[in-house]
């Protein structure tokens, strides 16, 4: 045995329910299921449970909204495995086998049911210079702040779309950034109409006002978007437009992004139906694939309160014939309505389709230009000819952009859904099809 690296031994975990993603939806699902006595395992890419919205620095206290849930998760009996990326999901006789990479080690999970809580990511629309270091996502900036990055004294412009801009602007102002401008691409009339509609959800209106107060010294403008970033080796300035005139700002950081899009790659790999970019579910959060449920942003952008309700519905019904409580169903219906109104207001404007030029890079992994893919008939053809979307991010950044720019349908998803070590990909568990319990069992049967 000497000389064999421990990395090659897969850890094996068996569970009734595997929850993929530990944001609010995944946590609520895991808590509800584990409190019913089911054996639950939660796997998540992040360093701590909480997902993006409840992200906090390791060792630091979580927010007041997050802390009770994180405490409940820890006490629920569910096992949470952080720092873990799903590589493949295969159906087998008794359920599913999930192959994951966890701290450079293979992890095999057998589960009878899967709850997908894969969350969302930002939509980026390519423009000249968007690959320069210093151009970052709006959510990405928030994540960096929560990871310990200091923005004190940095000249920052936020230019993009959606309600996420407000809390990030507030965080930047709190962090001592020199926040020059917050530019929302949506039209003023649409944003005003949305704000007026917020009276129906007073808590959201109050929240928006609280965020705005924190960056009152910075300008907030509508109907304005970024058309180019300039600099040599790093961002130095940006060009903005309101459709009539253009102007420049010298900046250190540009935060950009056009709202959130559901992470549906694992769902598509399993064969779940995707409707309007989100995982299609019924009123018990079931997908069209037996024993696969989905909750939260991956089923449609709706915010953390809705994700918590959906998680509770899935966790309380998974593996049983029980109907979800009427209270949960009514809460969900109300929140889904509010989310729908928001998405219409912040839809990217038509002018953004002409942002990239022929030499603008669209695929950041393979450095493929917009001109190289424009003539392709579909995503599959473009991939074969140019390698667009075939780098490490597997098209997660460029394909949603190309869907917006060229109305391409996403290509099929094949394993591995994330880059993985060969030792992980080739880790097979010899012998038994089902490992023994308890959950923490770890078996060292593997070959390279």
């Amino acid at each position: 045995m000497t000389g064999l690296r421990v990395d090659f031994y897969p850890e094996i975990v068996a569970a009734d329910v595997a929850v993929i993603g530990a944001g609010p939806g995944g946590i609520a699902a895991a808590v509800s299921a584990a409190e019913r006595g089911l054996r639950v395992v939660v796997i998540d890419r992040g360093l701590e449970p909480g997902g993006q919205i409840w992200r906090h620095k390791a060792g630091a206290a979580a927010t007041p909204e997050a802390q009770p849930w994180i405490t409940r998760l820890a006490a629920s009996g569910a096992r949470t495995i952080n720092g873990t990326s799903v590589v493949d999901v295969r159906p087998d006789a008794d359920g599913f086998e999930i192959l994951a990479e966890s701290a450079s080690r293979p992890l095999h999970i057998w589960a009878a049911d899967i709850i997908l809580a894969t969350g969302a990511r930002e939509l980026f629309i390519p423009f000249d210079g968007w690959t320069l270091p210093g151009v970052m996502g709006i959510g990405g900036t928030q994540a960096l702040i929560k990871s310990g990055a200091s923005f004190a004294g940095k000249r920052v412009v936020i230019a993009g779309s959606g309600p996420l801009m407000l809390p990030v602007a507030a965080s930047l102002a709190d962090a001592g950034a020199n926040l020059l401008l917050v530019a929302e691409q949506a039209r003023r009339a649409a944003v005003a109409q949305f704000a007026t509609g917020l009276w129906r959800t007073p808590s959201l209106l109050l929240q928006a006002a609280k965020y705005r107060v924190r960056f009152l010294t910075s300008s907030y403008t509508t109907g304005t978007w970024v058309t180019a970033a300039h600099g040599v080796d790093r961002l130095e300035s940006i060009t903005l437009t309101d459709g009539r005139r253009t102007w420049r700002h010298d900046v250190d950081v540009l935060c950009t992004g056009y709202g959130l899009i559901p992470n549906v790659e694992i769902a598509r790999l399993i064969g779940c139906e995707i409707r309007e970019g989100a995982i299609a579910v019924d009123n018990r959060q079931r997908t069209n694939v037996d024993h696969v449920l989905a909750v939260g942003e991956a089923t449609g952008i709706g915010g953390a309160p809705l994700s918590l309700i959906e998680g509770a519905i899935a966790g309380s019904t998974v593996g049983s014939v029980e109907a979800p409580s009427g209270h949960l169903l009514r809460r969900r219906a109300a929140l889904v309505g509010a989310a729908g109104r928001m998405l219409d207001v912040f839809a990217p404007r038509e002018e953004l389709r002409s942002l990239p030029h022929a030499d603008t890079i669209v695929c950041r992994c393979e450095d493929v230009s917009f001109g190289a893919v424009q003539g392709a008939a579909c995503a599959r053809q473009a991939k074969l000819y140019t390698r667009v979307g075939m780098g490490p991010c597997q098209g997660r950044t460029c394909m949603p952009a190309l869907d917006f720019l060229l109305a391409w349908q996403a290509d099929s998803v094949r394993p591995p859904v994330e880059p993985a070590l060969v030792s992980v990909l080739s880790s097979e568990v010899a012998g038994e099809a089902t490992p023994s319990f308890p959950l923490t069992s770890s078996v060292g049967e593997a070959y390279q």
Binding site: A58, S147, G148, D367, C393, T397, P419
Partner: protein, 88 residues
């Protein structure tokens, strides 16, 4: 540990030993040091973090001799060696 402060750890970035707060991610530590270019793209462009949540793979660095590690998903730990593609 300094009174009322956070504990600090020591890591090595491009050969230089630096002190950073415990609990910080590698991406945030590099950002705070003004290291904006973390990797070189296939056509030779400098690149830095974009999504900071493990999706875009733009923040790949070499950590303890392991290439292509996502700086945004890696917590800095005492004694860690980090190599970026560019030392600018």
């Amino acid at each position: 540990m300094p009174r009322g402060g956070q504990s600090r750890i020591s890591i090595v970035i491009n050969g230089d030993r630096v002190e950073v707060p415990a609990g910080i991610t590698v991406a945030a530590a590099l950002f705070n040091l003004g290291i904006t270019a973390l990797r070189t793209s296939v056509s030779g462009e400098p690149r830095g973090p974009v999504c900071a949540m493990g999706v875009c793979f733009e923040c790949r660095v070499t950590i303890d001799s392991r290439p292509h590690q996502r700086a945004c998903l890696t917590a800095a730990v005492d004694g860690m060696h980090i190599q970026t593609a560019s030392t600018s």
